[in-house]
Amino acid sequence: MPPRSPTISVETAGSDGLSGVRLSRGTLIRRRFLRNKLAVLGLCIVGFMLVLAFVGPYLTKWSYTDNDFDHLLSAPSSEHWFGTTQVGVDVFAQTMRGLQKSLIIGLLVAIFSTGMSAFIGSVAGYLGGRTDRVIMWVVDLLLVIPSLLVLVILSRYYQGKSWLLLVVGLTIFDWMITSRVVRGLAMSLRELDFVRAARYMGVPTRTIIARHLLPNMASIIIIAATLNVGGAILGETGLSYLGFGVQAPDVSLGTLIAEGTGAALTYPWLFMFAGTSLVLTVLAVSFIGDGLRDAFDPGSTRSKKI
């Protein structure tokens, strides 16, 4: 039995009543968000990571595929900022490339899977009845077998092929929980007067969902999308760590950690930088997500996720 999801609180512009000046909703949310120090810090870290991931590779003359045979397993130095691996690959170049890959995959998966859960959840919640039961039944079934296991079994279909297939795979098994939240919201929105009015006026279902339901759930969907970025990055790195995700010669933070840990007790730089950037990124993303939640809906108790 899922707990009933929170109803959304409807805010009107200027309800905060800041010295009588009427503020638009957007301004209010931005101000509330910027007041949250952790959220701003998170935004800075994610921004920094993004810039680093895409500009970083140009800062060094080494590429993640180059071997510098004069420096095997050398410690971080001015020549190799993060040191080198057993075969002389520059760890900085590797880490940047891995960060890039993990960030892209995480962002794409979060966008697609959140979109999917918004669509499926609102259809289930709005239509109710048999459609709802069937969809929720599928959701429950998909939650029984951990998606990591399914993705490992299915790895033959994306191994050695484009990493975009990995995005598809991660998306297909990452929408269930958010769709439950969306469904709960859609169920409570369905009973509101303006939705009823639209229905009785004969507005088609897809227009109601697109025009009336989704915009009214936008805040929750944005928050979910943000938090899903972290989940997606963790999912991708986990698969890659096991060797079922991003494949050599390409690298992701997961494969870097997997390769680095063999000799990492004596050569900690092999996995330390990849590990740190992974944790920092996911942490920053969750700070942003919580900041958004507080900004959109200050009255809500935090993190009612499922």
Binding site: L143, I145, L149, I153, Y241, F244, L265, L283, R302
Partner: protein, 327 residues
Amino acid sequence: MLGYIVRRLLNTILLVFIAASSGYLIASIALYPRGNYEAVLEPPPKYVIDEVLNRSNVNDEVPFVERYGIWLGQLVRGDFGIDLDGNEINEEFARRVTVSLRLLVVGALVGATIGVLIGVVSAVRQYKLFDRGFGLLSYFLLSTPVFLLAILLKFGGIKFNDWVGTTVFFTQGEYSAGFEGTDFEFLMNRLQHLILPTLSIALGSIAFYSRYQRNSMLDVLSSDHLRTARAKGLTKRQSLFRHGLRVAISPMATFFAYGFGLLMAGAVFTETIYGRFGMGNWFVTAVAKNDINAVSAVVTFTAVLVLLSGFLADIILVVLDPRVRTR
């Protein structure tokens, strides 16, 4: 009440069958055992390959429905079939299942209990040092993937051993090979092997449960019935434990069920990193070997674990919350 339990149990058993069958279906489609024999430099003749595949009932030239029928018939009798090397899967299963269960059950219990406790205390001392400290810590833990946590704990354990000068934490296997000693010493040796892997999968759950328990407890703390309890003369502590905790804990029961699935995913990493030959480790090797029957066995095990804990969670919910019973 009894009727409810029986209905839930039947539903659970049905779902286990559906989940196990889906696992078998996915494994049969995605894994290609014939490839193991065809990819070698000098492939054996086709009839030899067919013989090997038929023995395990994984021949892709036999219609899927037929293979599935045989597999299901075996499963109902509690038989997972034969792996590609010709060994009984049940034997391997029996060897590995206790290894994993020890890790998972201890991990789940430790994670849930400590997590709930921390959550309760955090809520009662909202915005105090304890709350803020554990809040930040749980953010970190939730952002750290299990494999990284397991690796860090392993290195931490090794460093600690070096520092103390004696081996306190073992980081490889179930127990020291060739260990001689009394039963108690043997148990201690097993525990020393179990601590770090358990922490690796439990720390994430502790963080997870503590956050949710804190929220749920905060909702309860400001509720009317708790004020009434105080008003009729109970002390703060009494009202909390008799009336507050019971309500605040019940939502956790639902998370407990799904939590087991996450733990199993964590066990895949932890068992590999700590060299424990349990179900998670078996899963990875079986997929790499294209062993459909072994993969299905692990998936079935996971489904049973998740659904059984879901069933237990529902029972606990009914015991804790009388309102559910009337539904």
